[in-house]
C-alpha cells in the first residue's frame, strides 16, 4: 500500500462522458490552488533570480543592479566550493547509508515471526521524532562532557579522552551524517518492506530449485524486482537530504570553520545572519540548478502514465 501511494501513477480517463464537461466549474475549482502556488511559489522563485542579480545590505537597503557579479565572485570564493563539497559529501553519504541500512533492516524484519509488527513499529520511531527534537537529542548525545556517545566510548575503552564530536572540523560532518542516517533509515525501510512484500514468491522458489543460494536469490530476483522502488527512493532521499536544514542548523550551524555548511544553511546564514540577500539568492539559484536533474527525473517517475 505504501509503495502504491508513493509511486501512484495517475491515469486520466480517455473519455469522460458527462463528467468531463463544465469548464467554468473546473476552472473555479483549480483557481484558488493555482493562485496560491503562483503567488507564493512561482513569484518568489522569479524574485530569487532577480534578487541574485542585485546587491543589498543592511546599510544600503536600496538594491543595486550588479548583473552576474555575485555568481562570478562565488565561483572564485573558497567558501562556495567548500559548501559544494560539503553538500555533495553530506547528500551522498546520508542517501547511501540511509538506503543501505534501510534495505538491510527491511530484509531483517521481513520475517514471519511472532511480534514482528511491534519490532517494525519501534524501528520506525526515529522517523516519527520531530526534526528539531532529533537534532537537539543528537547534539546532547555528542556533548563532550555529558553526552552518551563519549560516555559509552570512554567506559568501553575505545577512546581515552572526551572528544567534542561536533566541535572538531574533522569529525563534525561524520557526526551529523550519522545522526541524519539514524533519523532517515526507517523511512527507507518502510518503502523497502512494502516492496519486499511484492516480490514474486514463485520466482524465488524457482531460483532456489535451480540451486541459487539466498544471496544469489537476493541479488538476482529480489533486487531486480524492487528496482523501480529503489530508484524512486534514491531520488526522493537525494532531494530531501540536499534540502535538509534542521539537523545541521541545530547541531552545528554549519561550523566548526564552515566544515558542515551545506546550501540551505549557508543561504540562511548569508540572508538572515548577514543581510547579504543578493548573495544568498545566488546560492539559492545554484542549488536549484544542482537539484534540477534529480527533480526532473523524479517528476518523470511520478507522471509517467498521466
Amino acid at each position: 500500500m505504501t509503495t502504491q501511494s508513493l509511486a501512484t501513477k495517475h491515469r486520466q480517463p480517455r473519455k469522460a462522458r458527462g463528467l468531463g464537461s463544465g469548464r467554468g466549474l473546473a476552472l473555479l475549482f483549480v483557481a484558488p490552488s493555482v493562485l496560491l502556488v503562483g503567488l507564493l511559489m512561482y513569484t518568489p522563485m522569479v524574485q530569487a533570480f532577480i534578487e541574485s542579480l542585485h546587491a543589498t545590505a543592511f546599510l544600503s537597503p536600496q538594491p543595486e543592479f550588479v548583473g552576474l557579479e555575485h555568481y562570478r565572485n562565488m565561483l572564485r570564493d573558497d567558501t562556495f566550493w567548500r559548501v559544494v563539497r560539503n553538500s555533495v559529501t553530506w547528500t551522498l553519504a546520508v542517501v547511501l547509508f540511509q538506503n543501505l541500512l534501510g534495505l538491510a533492516s527491511a530484509v531483517l524484519l521481513n520475517q514471519n515471526l511472532p511480534g514482528q509488527g511491534v519490532v517494525r513499529t519501534l524501528v520506525l520511531l526515529p522517523w516519527v521524532l520531530p526534526g528539531v527534537v532529533t537534532a537537539l537529542l543528537w547534539r546532547f548525545m555528542y556533548d563532550p562532557q555529558l553526552g552518551l556517545v563519549n560516555s559509552l566510548l570512554l567506559s568501553s575503552g575505545l577512546i581515552n579522552s572526551a572528544t567534542g564530536w561536533l566541535a572538531e572540523p574533522n569529525t563534525a560532518m561524520a557526526a551529523v551524517i550519522l545522526a541524519a542516517v539514524w533519523k532517515g533509515f526507517p523511512f527507507s525501510m518502510v518503502i523497502f518492506l512494502a516492496a519486499l512484500q511484492g516480490v514474486d514468491e514463485q520466482q524465488l522458489e524457482a531460483a532456489q530449485l535451480d540451486g541459487a543460494n539466498p544471496w544469489q536469490r537476493f541479488i538476482h530476483v529480489t533486487i531486480p524486482s524492487m528496482s523501480a522502488i529503489i530508484r524512486l527512493n534514491l531520488l526522493l532521499t537525494t532531494i530531501f537530504t540536499f534540502n535538509y536544514f534542521d539537523m545541521i542548523w541545530v547541531t552545528t550551524r554549519g561550523g566548526p570553520l564552515d566544515s558542515t555548511h551545506i546550501f540551505p544553511t549557508e543561504i540562511f546564514e548569508l540572508g538572515f545572519g548577514q543581510g547579504r540577500f543578493g548573495e544568498a539568492a545566488a546560492y539559492g539559484i545554484v542549488s536549484v540548478l544542482l537539484l534540477a536533474a534529480f527533480a526532473i527525473l523524479y517528476l518523470r517517475e511520478l507522471t509517467q502514465d498521466a
Binding site: 469548464r23 490552488s33 524501528v123 521524532l129 548525545m141 552518551l148 537539484l291
Partner: protein, 291 residues
C-alpha cells in the same frame, strides 16, 4: 540439478535443521542490535528528562536516574511554552484546513474535468513541490515584510502552504483518481448538480485519503523549523520547534528541561503515529520529498 539438491537435503536433515536454527538465532540477534541502536537515544532522552538536578551528570553516565522525578516537566511547561504549543496547534490546523479544502477542489477538478491546459498546470504544481524552501524563503520573507505580515500567524500559515499545498493536491489526486466515476455519473443522470455529485459522493468516498493527507500536514507543520525561525521574532509568536531552544543558554544547556520539553513536543506526533499508523505511514511516504 534438482534431484541432487533433493538428495542432499534428504541425506543431511539434521544439519539443515541446525542451520535453520542458526539462521533464526542470527536474525533475532541482529534485530536486537537494530532495536538497541534505534531505542537507546530515546531511552536516554526519557531518562535525562526524569533526572532531578541533584543527580549530576557523570561519566560513565547512569542510564536510569536513581530518583526519577517530573520536576523538569513542571519547569519546562512554563507559560511561554504553553503559548508555543498553542501557536503550533493553531498554525497547523489553519494550514491543514486551507490546504485540504483548496487542494481537494483542485484535485477533484484535475481528476474529473477534461480542460485544455490542465496537464500543464498540474505538472507546474508538482514541479513547485520541488522548489527548495531555502531558495524561496528570502523572497517570501520580503513579500511578508511588504505586507507587514512578519511575526503574525498569517505569515506562517501562508509560508506553510507552500510546503503543504502542492503535495496535498498530488496526494488527493491519487486518492480521488481511485474512486470510480460511475457513482457520480449516475447521480448526475438522476438530476443531481455537479456540486452535489462532488460534495455528496466524491468527498465522502475520499475520506481515507483526506485523513492521510491531513495527518501528513499536521506532522510536517508541527515540526516545521526554517520558516518559523525566520518569520517569528517575538516570543509570543514562536512555535514549539523554535521555542524548544529556550533551554539553550549562552553559557550552557539545561538538558533536563530541554529533554522534558523535547518529550512534550514529540508526544502529539507519537500519539498520532500509534493511533493512526496506517494514515501516518501512507501520508508521510507520499509526501516524502518534504520530509
Amino acid at each position: 540439478m534438482t534431484t541432487s539438491t533433493m538428495k542432499m537435503k534428504r541425506s543431511r536433515p539434521t544439519s539443515t535443521r541446525r542451520r535453520k536454527r542458526g539462521q533464526l538465532a542470527l536474525t533475532l540477534f541482529l534485530q536486537a542490535v537494530l532495536l538497541l541502536i534505534v531505542l537507546l537515544p530515546f531511552f536516554w532522552m526519557l531518562s535525562v528528562s526524569l533526572k532531578p538536578a541533584s543527580e549530576p551528570f557523570a561519566i560513565p553516565a547512569r542510564l536510569w536516574p536513581e530518583n526519577p522525578t517530573l520536576v523538569n516537566y513542571q519547569t519546562a511547561f512554563y507559560p511561554e511554552f504553553r503559548r508555543y504549543f498553542f501557536n503550533s496547534t493553531l498554525v497547523s490546523l489553519a494550514t491543514m484546513a486551507i490546504s485540504i479544502s483548496v487542494g481537494l477542489l483542485a484535485a477533484y477538478s484535475f481528476s474529473r474535468f477534461r480542460v485544455r491546459g490542465f496537464k500543464v498546470l498540474l505538472v507546474a504544481i508538482i514541479l513547485a513541490q520541488m522548489f527548495p524552501v531555502a531558495t524561496m524563503i528570502i523572497p517570501i520573507y520580503k513579500i511578508m515584510r511588504r505586507f507587514s505580515l512578519l511575526d503574525t500567524y498569517p505569515a506562517l500559515i501562508l509560508a506553510y502552504i507552500t510546503i503543504t499545498l502542492p503535495v496535498a493536491i498530488w496526494m488527493l489526486l491519487g486518492f480521488i483518481g481511485n474512486i470510480p466515476k460511475e457513482l457520480e455519473e449516475s447521480a448526475l443522470v438522476e438530476g443531481a448538480t455537479r456540486l452535489q455529485a462532488f460534495w455528496r459522493i466524491a468527498v465522502p468516498l475520499a475520506r481515507p485519503g483526506i485523513a492521510a493527507t491531513a495527518v501528513w500536514i499536521a506532522v510536517v507543520t508541527w515540526q516545521e523549523f526554517i520558516f518559523a525561525l525566520a518569520f517569528t521574532s517575538s516570543r509570543e509568536m514562536r512555535t514549539v520547534s523554535v521555542g524548544i531552544s529556550d533551554f539553550i543558554g549562552q553559557y550552557g544547556i539545561r538538558y533536563g528541561e530541554l529533554m522534558a520539553s523535547s518529550v512534550m513536543v514529540s508526544l502529539p506526533i507519537m500519539v498520532v503515529f500509534f493511533f493512526l499508523q496506517r494514515q501516518f505511514v501512507a501520508g508521510l511516504t507520499a509526501g516524502a520529498s518534504k520530509g
